[in-house]
């Protein structure tokens, strides 16, 4: 148990701070469409060119080959520097990249990883289907092996930024025999391939973040399979572990900052009777609880990083962090809306600093995406506590 960072790490943090201070784009980040892609990949490229992309990715694929601790410092400082959201780069940097590093073949890694880091390719995820959400292994998008190709037919849904993506981490069913988990294959799909149709879906926050994706005789070379045919479930699970763990460090720091900001806001704002919002005991109590819980979240995140630094793959303990973080972020977002009272009723564009209601709506995704909070609790119950499976 030790919080101190070696001098080398403190120097690294200083270097990161200085660079971010001088290089973080100050113009507003677009939240949908081609303008969003253009902005997000430009920012990714800027990071890459200065040597800040893929801090703990292997050097041979364009990364820096540094430690998880340095990656952690980078994420923390991004949040303190008000850097742009990761946006369309999320899946490539936080899911697909780490999965490829862990499970892909040499040629796949050499081709894709540098492109992800350089902002040359944008990735999306093709996991959920209309009939396979929490029961992900029940997916039915099928792929037939024809010669040296897979021919894919079916439908995916809730695919964020599909219309802006170049590649997709796609789960398909290659066999209906045996256990349903065993007939799944993880494959890299080219989103520009013939037979793919994309239909955007509006979200409750306003912008159309996610899409339906239809596959009609889409041909994918077998060389794009990651792992082996029929082995996709285990490849997919390594991806989800990444998503639930350190990938969210930055959002945790943002939550710390948001609470400090809300405390200041509650000290400034007065209600219609001229009373400061912080002098409302329920607001003060909720702020204090949220600040305390966010401190605990920081501790949990540091513990999770410490665990993951000791082993090659993130473990299921990430679900503890995920449950606590996702529900806490919802409570904090609702608290913000309650502090501003009727201003929370105003339709404001998503992404504006004072769009508290829209930010609250966004947090509803946190307990659904990356495994719903119910699935997370099943994982904790069954895999950490050893409780029997059931429904």
């Amino acid at each position: 148990m030790d919080l101190t960072l070696p001098q080398e790490m403190r120097d690294f943090r200083e270097e990161v701070r200085t660079w971010l201070h001088e290089n973080v784009p100050r113009e507003p980040q677009p939240h949908e469409g081609p303008a969003m892609r253009e902005f997000d990949v430009a920012w990714q490229r800027t990071q890459y060119e200065a040597g800040w992309a893929g801090i703990n990715w292997p050097v041979e694929y364009g990364g820096r080959g540094l430690s998880l601790l340095q990656q952690m410092i980078w994420y923390e400082e991004l949040a303190w520097a008000d850097a742009p959201e990761i946006g369309v780069s999320f899946v490539g940097i936080n899911h697909a990249g780490p999965t490829l590093i862990a499970r892909a073949g040499e040629e796949q890694k050499a081709f894709h990883l540098p492109k992800i880091l350089q902002g040359d390719s944008v990735w999306c995820q093709g996991f959920s289907e209309p009939g396979a959400g929490s029961d992900l292994a029940g997916l039915s998008t099928r792929a037939e092996i024809v010669g040296d190709e897979l021919v894919v037919n079916g439908q995916k849904i809730w695919t964020s930024y599909a219309e802006l993506a170049d590649y997709q981490e796609l789960l398909v069913r290659t066999s209906r025999d045996g256990r349903k988990h065993d007939g799944i294959t993880w494959v890299i799909a080219d989103m520009h391939a013939p037979g793919i149709t994309i239909r955007p879906i509006r979200t409750m926050t306003g912008p159309a973040h996610f899409c339906e994706v239809f596959y009609d005789d889409v041909h994918i070379p077998l060389s794009s399979v990651v792992g082996e045919v029929g082995n996709g479930w285990s490849v997919a699970m390594s991806t989800l572990s990444f998503e639930r763990g350190t990938g969210f460090l930055r959002e945790q720091v943002k939550l710390v900052r948001l609470i400090d900001e809300l405390t200041a806001l509650a000290r400034d704002r007065v209600d219609h009777r001229g009373r400061r919002r912080i002098d409302d005991d329920t607001i003060a109590a909720r702020l204090a609880t949220a600040r305390a819980e966010t401190s605990a979240l920081t501790a949990m995140a540091l513990a999770d990083i410490s665990r993951n630094a000791r082993r090659p793959q993130p473990g299921v303990e990430g679900s503890l962090l995920r449950v606590f973080f996702s529900e806490l972020s919802q409570r904090v977002a609702k608290l913000a809306v309650d502090i501003v009272e009727e201003d929370g009723l105003e339709a404001r564009p998503y992404g504006r600093d004072d769009a508290y209601a829209q930010e609250w709506y966004r947090t509803f995704a946190a307990t659904i995406a990356a495994g719903s909070k119910d699935i997370q609790r099943n994982i904790i119950g069954e895999r950490l506590l050893g409780l029997p499976k059931g429904r």
């Binding site: 919080l3 923390e76 609880t289 501790a299 513990a303 503890l320 119950g381």
Partner: protein
């Protein structure tokens, strides 16, 4: 940076767990006599022998020269087993004596020869302790600092029965001079004590998590273990989330205090707030998970709840904790 225990720290935690479980399991509380001391003498003696009263006391004073982080591991285990006795007061007193440089007193404390009750502020001019049947001296902790009183410098004004069988409640009046006293700038006794209290509460979070999970594996209804039903399983999982948050925030609080970091004030207050809330919720869920047996006096489930209630009330009121959290400076890494 590594928040998890290393091998030596894990060994300390395991030794503490084994020792406490062997001599003072929670069920011991069912058998305590009303007017006799609550401390299990063998546990107290062996705890002293293993150095548990001075883990974070410098070696030149007879301590182990480790840190508050190791001390929290021991208190986590004391909390998990609902160990009875003046552990908190004795260890707070040791740290106070170290801060004041009173080597003779330190030697008595670290060796376990002088069990010290923890006392906080009751009403005007009076102090409150829950160690009345075991303490041979008192450490009084308040906003103004900490002070050590020998037994003949205080008198018991009145006794009150406590919901927790092992908490022996008395209100005290100070009649003599303190042997030593410190200002909060010298020794943040409220923060330090709060971290130890939080460690015990986090131990209760872990104990109730495990008790519920074990029961849910063996108790059958509708021909299935109740842990296979999501309604029960998810409560058990929530207990695990709360126990993890509690354990980690205690470690972070201990390390920030030892390192003298700017966010130490926020972290101990956060630890107090989170561990109290999480322990009481875990204890409540644990009763629910056990159904009718959980409501009985003969089961241990209510013992956890009642101890958590007492711990959550020590040194600071809920309003004090709230203010401490809100008033602490922001926590940007240096």
């Amino acid at each position: 940076m590594d928040l998890l225990p290393d091998d030596q720290q894990t060994a300390i935690a395991e030794a503490a767990r084994d020792l406490v479980a062997a001599h003072s399991p929670p069920s011991r509380l069912h058998t305590l006599d009303d007017d006799a001391p609550v401390t299990e003498p063998t546990l107290w003696r062996l705890a002293a022998q293993q150095g548990f009263f001075g883990l974070d006391v410098p070696e030149r004073f007879g301590g182990a020269g480790l840190s508050l982080a190791e001390q929290t591991l021991v208190f986590h285990e004391l909390g998990r087993s609902l160990a009875a006795g003046p552990f908190l007061g004795t260890v707070v007193a040791a740290r106070l004596a170290a801060a004041a440089g009173d080597e003779a007193l330190l030697a008595d404390l670290v060796d376990g020869r002088l069990p010290v009750g923890l006392a906080d502020v009751a009403t005007e001019g009076l102090y409150r302790t829950f160690d009345a049947d075991d303490a041979r001296a008192y450490v009084v902790v308040s906003r103004d600092g900490a002070a050590f009183y020998d037994a003949d410098a205080v008198e018991v004004v009145r006794r009150r029965p406590c919901v927790d069988a092992a908490s022996r409640w008395a209100e005290l009046r100070v009649t003599g001079q303190p042997r030593i006293s410190t200002h909060p700038d010298q020794f943040d006794a409220v923060g330090y004590g709060s971290i130890l209290i939080s460690a015990m509460l986090s131990g209760i979070c872990a104990a109730t998590r495990d008790q519920s999970a074990e029961y849910a594996k063996v108790r059958k209804q509708f021909d299935l273990p109740i842990g296979s039903f999501q309604a029960v399983k998810h409560r058990c999982s929530d207990n695990a989330v709360r126990a993890e948050a509690a354990a980690q925030v205690v470690t972070l609080a201990a390390l920030t205090m030892e390192d003298g970091r700017a966010d130490a004030g926020l972290m101990w207050a956060a630890a107090r707030s989170v561990t109290a809330d999480h322990a009481l919720r875990n204890c409540s869920d644990n009763i629910q998970n056990h159904g009718g047996i959980g409501y009985t006096g003969e089961h241990d489930a209510h013992l956890f709840l009642k101890r958590a209630q007492v711990l959550a009330d020590l040194l600071l009121t809920q309003a004090d904790v709230r203010d401490a959290v809100l008033d602490a400076p922001e926590a940007r890494p240096a």
